[in-house]
Symmetry: C2
Subunit: 456 residues, 2 copies
Amino acid sequence: MPQPFELTATEAAKKMRQRDLSPVELVESLISRVDSLEPRLNAWVYLDREAVLADARDKEAELGSSTKLGPLHGVPIGLKDIYYTAGIPTTACSKVYADFVPDYDATTVSLLKQAGAIMLGKTVTTEFACMDPSPTINPWNPAHTPGGSSSGSAVAVATRMCPAALGSQTVGSVLRPASYNGVVGFKPTFGRVSRYGVIPVSWTLDHVGWMARSVADIALLLTVMAVPDSHEPITQRQPSSEFVSLNIMAGLESPPAPRIGVIRRFFYDHADRETCEHTDGVLEQLARAGAMVEDVTLPDSIDTAIEDQRVIMAVEGAAFHQANFERQPEDYQPGLREMLRRGLATDGPTYSRALERRQQFIAEMESLAEQVDVLLTPSTPTPALADLTNTGNTMFQGPWTSCGLPAITIPSGLAASGLPFGIQLIGGSFAEARLLGAASWCEKVLDVHLSPSVDG
Amino acid sequence: MPQPFELTATEAAKKMRQRDLSPVELVESLISRVDSLEPRLNAWVYLDREAVLADARDKEAELGSSTKLGPLHGVPIGLKDIYYTAGIPTTACSKVYADFVPDYDATTVSLLKQAGAIMLGKTVTTEFACMDPSPTINPWNPAHTPGGSSSGSAVAVATRMCPAALGSQTVGSVLRPASYNGVVGFKPTFGRVSRYGVIPVSWTLDHVGWMARSVADIALLLTVMAVPDSHEPITQRQPSSEFVSLNIMAGLESPPAPRIGVIRRFFYDHADRETCEHTDGVLEQLARAGAMVEDVTLPDSIDTAIEDQRVIMAVEGAAFHQANFERQPEDYQPGLREMLRRGLATDGPTYSRALERRQQFIAEMESLAEQVDVLLTPSTPTPALADLTNTGNTMFQGPWTSCGLPAITIPSGLAASGLPFGIQLIGGSFAEARLLGAASWCEKVLDVHLSPSVDG
């Protein structure tokens, strides 16, 4: 029998519904896990044990009395500390927001609560979900970066302190830490999930994303949060005809072997040899199991996409922070300070040309994704490096954030150094059902489940 | 029997197909019309009589021999001089582009040609489709502005020098001159028609649009040009499921009485008394004929939309013109020069915040439009004014260009001054079929057909 803290969200939800597990038991198991690991790992900034246990007791009572239970009934979820939580501090791990207590929940938080989830606590983010490293420790090796910016969420999920946690991705802030820590990380199509009530970095790039330990969990959270939101203009353009939940869950049941497009240019050019060899091995394994694997070619617009994304993030970050930054520049950390100075100094026409080139890039990447079921790349150029001065290289995630296509990383093995590898799968625009079906198929074939040794 | 030049595009196409009219006859009639009126009106910058007649003779031969004729076979169309025409000068009526001869056609021009249309010539635009008045004369009264920026196209269609002509709208450059000159003017949903090969003003605001003398003609041109274009990223997001042509033409056959939402705030506040009274009269007439007329309320985001649009246009205009403008600023006219200076001086964060507010405005306006079949406003605050120092007030068209919804103006009567009135109808996002159906219904009920007295 696994301990409750070891269960995935889907497993825990099922057990609770079958009355094989109580929400209180689960929360107590997770809290004791947090109590034993948190002093070494620094994954959390806020966890109100009494409030969470009270919520778990309510959920337990509802299990007995209510006939209409949400799909996440009793499941504890972690929240990166940029998600507004009514009455609970939301600091973005920044001095600038140190005293901020929102009076409403982010739309995603409301939707999770409506689905019955328990908000376990707030996880560490790099300051304002940007580049300056956070105090979170990589549980696989403390000398290596845990990645960023959603470092607390990734480490909490990897070490079984919670089954799933929300992060956010503006360049590579969900999939990179997920891959570094050996968990599944996902961001949906731009426009699929509301960002209302999430402290922004960059309004044309920010995505809500999340981590879990199975593709099924990722899908379950998507069905709960893929809802248009009148507070969030980007969600108004969702294809309304598709009944998202049913499609996604149906796609997971017995997904067909996918047609996989491998992108060697750019990704193989920038990955180290071990990562390339590992990825080739994964591709062979998937092909042997029946996947159709073919090479596809990145459009030339990739050449400007990275630098354009850098310009766009700086300008939009500055657009949000300008007033605070001009009042208290020294309260910002050095990396973010440099970015905001750069954004403030960028002229409108330069930013406009970057946005316009990106529009072309988006169209070309959407066409590329339509050639196959999923695109595949290594998730990161290398496993997490032994360098705590930065949160790692974002270039393998950035293009998919810039073009808005949905992307997922799944664990695929361990490097010689003992650190996790991941493969990144990318789907077509608003084609999450197909992407998650393919990811689920790959997950079954690879059958890699990673857990850092933190109990010693 | 009307003279050939008096025919609409739909009428002319039908007569030619029935062999009641030859393309050569039609072109000769239009050219003689141009020859008699152009010296007074300055609507054209380029018209190659021999080439057009040769094209007409080819079209005549095809009428006899070909079984597959395009829907615009033999119909002459005017092109605002910002549309790329292979081998033919495309000057934007600017010194900066005085010697520019493109080597390919704009996508729209290719599509019109494929549909059998004859490119009659290039019409006068204000410099680079911006604000400095053009030499075109208002055929209703030479002391009044003809509007801009598509002044030549509007005047050519109003005076029967061609049945239809392309313009473009970044703020109010199609519907305003169309209304001032008593013709039908239309711009589709942002993203519906390709702008590839059209000299830009502002990449997030520019729309292709056109003028004609009936809603049926407007619809016919839309069915030809509503095609996704791999060269034009904005057209990739068109709903692909809708078979545009059939829907639109079906909507015109016997359109039902529409549900009309009247917007009094902002529009009635800024229109003069005679325009308000005229619009109320139109509404009474439509209601008597069976339309359901109700008041709807503009969202508060209208308050910032006008100024934000001004910022966006200046920055994006500067993004395109920067290199030429820095080299030869004196070759730009004063209004445009001021705008480009302002755009170059605008910082990235200011422009970004304007774009972000606009995203909210778009979402709110799309919701507003979904409450009814069409929204209705006066097309302009006043008929064309006796002021040749500017091209008139754009504020009644600008909001629909900024939010990207499709809009049409149809002639609705004459003011005491003898100048035309128009009403503007606005449809839902990508709901052109419903909009044009409603416009066709209103056109039948109002039965207003205007023609300036230019033969005297």
